[in-house]
C-alpha cells in the first residue's frame, strides 16, 4: 500500500470544512488538515508539508498560497498547480468547480486523482448551494425595489397597484430592460427629486 497523502484544506466556514474533510477521508489513505485562519497562511501550510493543498477559488487569501509555488518559498518542496498531461484536464475541471489545488511537483497523477475528483464533486455541490442562496437573496431584494417603485407610481399617478405594475413591465419591455432595473432607476430618481 502506498504511503498516505497529506492534504491541507483552507476553509473558514466550519460546516463547509467538515463536509469536505468527510468526503476526502472516504477516498482512503489520506491525512487531512483544515486551516481556517488566513494570517500567516503560507507558513501554517508549510508546517504540515502537504502533498496537496485545496482552497476555494473565491477565497481572496488564495494569493497568499502563491508564495508556495516559488521554489525559494517557505516549503522545501516546490508546489505547483498541476498543468501537464492528464492532470491538466483535472486542473481545468477543478477551476470550473471552484476549487484550486496545489500539488507537489512530480506526484503521480493516479495518486492525486481520487482526492481531486472527490474535492471537485464536493466543491460543486457547495458552490451550487451558495449560488442558490445568492439568487434567493437577490430575488428578495429585487422584489423590495419593485414594490417601492409600484408604490411611488401609485402615489404619483393615483393608479391602483396592478396598473402600476403593468406600467413598469411595459416600460421595461419598450426599453428592453429588466423590470427590476427600471424599478431601481425610478426609486433612485425619486430619491434625487424628493
Amino acid at each position: 500500500m502506498s504511503p498516505s497523502l497529506t492534504v491541507v484544506v483552507v476553509e473558514q466556514n466550519r460546516d463547509r470544512a467538515i463536509a469536505i474533510v468527510d468526503a476526502l477521508k472516504e477516498t482512503g489513505n489520506v491525512d487531512v488538515h483544515v486551516i481556517s485562519e488566513a494570517s500567516g497562511l503560507a507558513r501554517k501550510i508549510a508546517i504540515h508539508s502537504p502533498d496537496i493543498v485545496l482552497i476555494d477559488i473565491d477565497n481572496p487569501s488564495r494569493d497568499r498560497l502563491e508564495e508556495l509555488t516559488i521554489a525559494s518559498g517557505p516549503m522545501d518542496r516546490p508546489v505547483a498547480m498541476f498543468v501537464s498531461g492528464a492532470a491538466g484536464q483535472l486542473a481545468k475541471a477543478a477551476v470550473e468547480a471552484g476549487v484550486s489545488a496545489y500539488v507537489v511537483d512530480g506526484l503521480q497523477a493516479e495518486r492525486i486523482k481520487p482526492v481531486i475528483d472527490t474535492a471537485i464533486a464536493r466543491f460543486q455541490v457547495l458552490r451550487q448551494m451558495r449560488t442558490e442562496l445568492e439568487e434567493t437573496r437577490r430575488a428578495l431584494e429585487e422584489r423590495k425595489v419593485i414594490d417601492r417603485a409600484k408604490g411611488l407610481l401609485m402615489k404619483a399617478k393615483g393608479i391602483p397597484e396592478d396598473q402600476a405594475y403593468a406600467l413598469l413591465r411595459k416600460t421595461a419591455m419598450n426599453q428592453n430592460r429588466r423590470v427590476a432595473d427600471v424599478a431601481e432607476a425610478l426609486v433612485t430618481a425619486s430619491g434625487l427629486l424628493s
Binding site: A42, P60, S61, A91, E96
Partner: protein, 392 residues
Amino acid sequence: MRTVSLPIAYMPLVDAAPLIVAREMGFDQAEGVSLDLRAAPSWSSLRDMLAFGHVDAAHLLSPVPVAMAMRLGGIATPISAVSVLSLNGNVIGVGNRLEQRLLDAGYGFDFHDAHRAGAALADAAAGEVVFGVPFPFSMHVELLRYWIAGTALAQTKVDIRTVPPPLMAQALAAGEIDAFCVGEPWGSVSVDNGVGALLLPGTAIWSCAPEKVLAVRTEWAETEPHLLGGLMRAIWRAGRWLSKPESRTTASEMLSRRTYLDVSPELIDRALMGEFTISARGEQRQVDGFVEFFNGAAAFPWRSQAKWIAHQLAGRNGLDHAEAGHLGGAVFRSDLYRSALAGTQAELPGASEKIEGAIPAEALVPAATGSLMLPRNVFFDRRVFDPSGVEC
C-alpha cells in the same frame, strides 16, 4: 449595431479604470464589442480564469505574464500583454508603530525623496521589517526590491509577504506586517482607518513603471484579431477620456459604484488627482503623474519594460539574463499594439524599445508619424537600463 460580448476579468482597483470607463461610456459598443466585466477574488484566480479560458482578456499585474513566460509560478499558458493599462499608481506605507518612530526621529514624510525615506525607515525599523504586497509577481515587489537594494534598507532584514489588498489595513492593524506596497485605493484606506501613514508614491522609485497590462491568451490574439482590435481601441478611447481633467470627477463616481470598487468616490479622487492625505493627522501631499493611463504613449507596451521586469526576476531566481530577456521581452506585444491602433489618432513611437530610466525631463522623440512627447522616466538612483545590454 451587433456587438460581441467579451468576458474580461479585473481586480477592483483604481487602475482598472480604462476597462470600467470603456464599458460605462459605451466606447466598447462603438467598436463593436461589449465588455462583460467580472471582478476576480484574487490575482491567482484572475490568472487562472484567463489561462483556462473562462475570460478572453484580463487586467493583469505586468510581471505576471513575464514570469509565466519564464516558467516561474505554476501555470505556463502563453499570454500576451497587448497594451499597458496604466503606469504607476502604487503607494508605500507604514503601520502606526513605524510611523511613530519615524516622527520621533524627526522625519518629515516628504512623500518624495526615496533615499531619505529608505534611510529613515532603516533607522526606525531597527534591523527588521515585514512588508505586505498583493502578489509575489508584481510591480509592488519589483519597486520594493529595487528601492531596498539601493538605500540604507539594504542592511535591514526584509521579509515580503503576500496579503490581499482589501485585507492590507487589517494585516497592518494586527501587526502581521509592518509596512506595505499596494495599489490605490488600498493605501488610502489604511490612512483613513487610522492604522498607517503613507511614506512614498511608487513614482518616487521609478517615475514610469508599467503597472497593469491588458493580457490575452496568445492563441486567442491569433484567432480573434478583430475582436482584440476592437477591445484595444475601446480601451484607448477610454484612456483618452480619462486623460481629460474634467472627466476625473465622473470617473471617480463611476469607479466607486457597488458593482466595481465599492468605496467612497473621495478615496478614488486622491489617486486620480494625485492629491493624497498621507496620515491620520490630515497632512496633504501632491504627486504629479501618480497614475497615468494615456499621455506620453502610456499604453504602448515597450519591449524594454518587459525586459526590465525579466532582468529583475532572473536576478532573484538565478536564471540566465539573456534568455530571460528574450522570453520575457517577447510578452509585451508592441507589434499587436501597432496593428490594432493604426488608423486611430494613437501616438505610435518609432522604436519598440527605449533605455529605461534615461529621460530626466519630458522629451520629444520620433514617432511613426511626426513626433511624440515621452514623459519623465527616471529611477530614484539615476541608474539606467539598456535593454540591448543585459548586463547593466
